[in-house]
Symmetry: C2
Subunit: 297 residues, 2 copies
């Protein structure tokens, strides 16, 4: 297996691109792919300031690494969830800190325990809905910090495997509200920061190889509360299609992006957004779910 | 395993309906399901005259059987394709004839060889595109015969497994033209007869069980030219999802039917239809593809 560019020994093959690359040219290829994605979906203008939400996993650290290398002004935010059964949160937090320190980039650690005296573990157990509460909490913190700091965009590590599996799941249910919102770039709107997914067209394997080449250390523990069985199933199904016809996952998602406007629910007015009476972030009710959950006594 | 209705021994289980049935109650259940599908998608009014396109397989013969039992005026049309490598066409034709004779219903055998001196085998081999030529040929003949006889609708045997796999394939490509047309009932339009798929919400297994209960004999040979590898793959993938969550395939297709209007290509005018100079059937060109292929010397 030879590198497509230099014909030296290749590190790995990428059938969707009909190419094998050595470490050096995989690195170049990957950077160029992210750059193209950013331009194509108008994610960032040169020099814009972006908050990267980092979990400590390979995807979000890769986003921070690539955006920094491409010349954007990167800041990080990491939500310390306080899940310590298997060292998940302490390891995640330590790795994020190490990554940002090594690059001399600012990182904010947002500790739920320090701020509210409770962790996701405590709150999630009470309601027995870990994943949805955790997702809501992270989305709220990420957006609030980006808006409060007046940054241009909020970047997350969602990759092609995540996005195409979510798209598949939403198509099985034909949920038009979700189908309208699976785009790689969402413009700022009523108190929400512009949201971008610079790895939207890159697969888990491509990202993992880049992370290995760049020597990015990532969290090895997995969240002990994670239950994404259905989502995982859809990922496996799409992987089977991809194996048969490399490139299908990408063209499936790209085709969706071109078509997504048809899912805008016309006529039916979207629920009106106003500022939360407690934190000022956008909500459809008086006090937002985040404040109700974390700031109530 | 007991019948949901009479608690007697059940013939088979139908997880999507959370029910097992004995032969008698499967028969009742099946008839009621087709009746509901016809009403829900406004396929037929009581007593209307319908042409059923029969191949000799279980699906199309089941459609003819059910529509007859539900009181519609059924006629059949069967295209004899002249594929005789393994007796495929002669067996199919004989079974269709036997079925319609036994019920005293009219059946037209449309033999390509007799009419045009050539079979699908001859024409397909010349162009090396058996499946697409065969599909085009059958669609043309079915529609032409329904229109020429002034019937109310043309019924085909497409089942839930076919339709959801085709939907899946069209979603992978985001082909809006096809996505707008995967409906269980298409109104008559510019020289095309109303097209209905009464088995749209019934699975292959449900249909096979009904056909067994009704003692419907069907063709056992398979077409030696069939190459539907990709389509089969999508069927397998959906079967895996269905196995995990019974009923998913049906809700996927039902959800699509509710949403399909968003895929109508607005603005962009559909190509204008006019009568073919040779046969008078609708076409976008002067002489339709069917006449070019079969009626040219």
């Amino acid at each position: 297996m030879k590198c497509k560019v230099c014909r030296g020994p290749a590190l790995a093959g990428f059938p969707a691109h009909n190419a094998n690359f050595c470490a050096e040219h995989l690195d170049q290829f990957f950077l160029r792919q992210v750059e193209k994605t950013i331009r194509r979906y108008q994610m960032l203008q040169p020099g814009e300031r972006v908050l990267v939400a980092v979990s400590g996993g390979k995807d979000s650290l890769t986003v921070a690494d690539v955006l920094d290398r491409l010349g954007y002004a990167v800041r990080g935010v990491h939500v310390d969830l306080g899940i310590d059964d298997n060292g998940f949160s302490s390891e995640s937090t330590a790795l994020c800190r190490e990554f940002f320190t090594a690059r001399g980039l600012p990182l904010e650690i947002y500790s739920l325990k320090e701020r509210f005296g409770r962790s996701i573990k405590d709150v999630g157990r009470r309601f027995n809905r870990f994943c949805s509460i955790c997702g809501m909490t992270k989305r709220h913190v990420m957006n609030a910090r980006a808006v409060e700091q007046g940054l241009d965009a909020l970047a997350t590590g969602h990759n092609l495997d995540d996005l195409s599996a979510a798209l598949f799941a939403n198509l099985m249910r034909w949920d038009r509200r979700y189908l309208a919102k699976g785009l790689p770039s969402l413009p700022p709107e009523g108190g929400f920061c512009r949201k971008i997914k610079p790895l939207a067209l890159l697969s888990e394997k491509e990202i993992a190889t880049y992370a290995a080449v760049r020597d990015i250390r990532m969290v090895t523990a997995t969240c002990p509360y994670s239950r994404e069985a259905k989502f995982k199933r859809y990922k496996e199904l799409l992987a089977a299609v991809e194996h048969q016809s490399p490139g299908t996952k990408r063209s499936f998602y790209e085709g969706y992006v071109k078509t997504a406007s048809v899912f805008q629910v016309g006529g039916q007015a979207a629920p009106a957004l106003g500022p939360c009476a407690v934190c000022g972030m956008p909500t459809t009710v008086e006090v937002c779910t985040f404040c109700k959950l974390w700031r109530s006594t």
